[in-house]
Amino acid sequence: MTGEATAPARVRPYEGMFVVFNKEARKTHEYLEEHVKGLLEKVHAKVVRFTKWDQRQLAFEINGQREGIYYLCYFEAPTDAIAHLKRESELSELVLRALILALDRIPTEDELRKRSSSAEEAMREGEELRGEGGFDGGGRRPRGGGGRGDRMGGGDGESDER
C-alpha cells in the first residue's frame, strides 16, 4: 500500500422522490419539507429544485399509513453520498419511501411540462386497447379439460409436471 489519497467522488445530478407522512398531524407541512431538506444537507447535496409534487392516497399501506406527501427534488451530490442518503431516509421516522434516480442532467421546467403532456397525448392518440380482453385473446379462453392439462402431450421428455 502506498497510502495514496483516493480521488474525490464524482458529483452527478439526481432526482429524489421522498414519500413522507404527517406524523404530528399539523396543518402546515413546512416541518416535513425542512426535514427532507435536512437529510439532503446532511450528505452535502446541492439542492437545485425542491417541490411538493403531490399529496395522495397510497396504493397500499406503508408503515400503517394510507396517505403520503410526495416531495420531488433535483439535486447534485457526490456519488458516494447516495448510500448515506438512503440509509438516513430509512432511519427517519417521517420518510416512508425514498426513490433516488441518477440523471444525465437536470431537466428544465419546460422539459418536464413537455414530457408529461406528450405522454398523455401519446396515450390519447394511440390506438385504443382492443376490446375487453385486447389482443391477448379477449377475456377467458375456453380450456378443454381445464388447467394445464391441455398443454401436455406435445412435450417429448419435457413435462410440466414436477
Binding site: M17, V19, A59, F60, M123, G126
Partner: protein
Amino acid sequence: MPKKKSRIALARARQRRYKKFVDRGPCRFCKKEGLVIEYKDVSTLERLCSQQGKLFSRKRSGNCAKHQRQLKTAVKQARYVGLLPFVG
C-alpha cells in the same frame, strides 16, 4: 345447410388474422419524439396495467420493445413509492 368455406377463403382469413398482429405501424410512444416514460405519469401507467395491477403484454398494448422496457421500469418504480399497487 351453411355453405362450407373453400380452402383459399380459409387461408385468407388466417392471413387477415395474422396481419392484425403484424401490420400495426409504430407504437404510440414512438410517434412522439423525445418522450420518456416516467413513474410519475400515473394515469399513463394505470391505463397500461390490468385491474390486477399487471402490465399489459406488448401484443395487447402495441408497444415496441424499447418502450415496453421503459414502461416496465416505470411501473416498478411507481410501485415502490406507492403510486401503483403490487397486487390490485
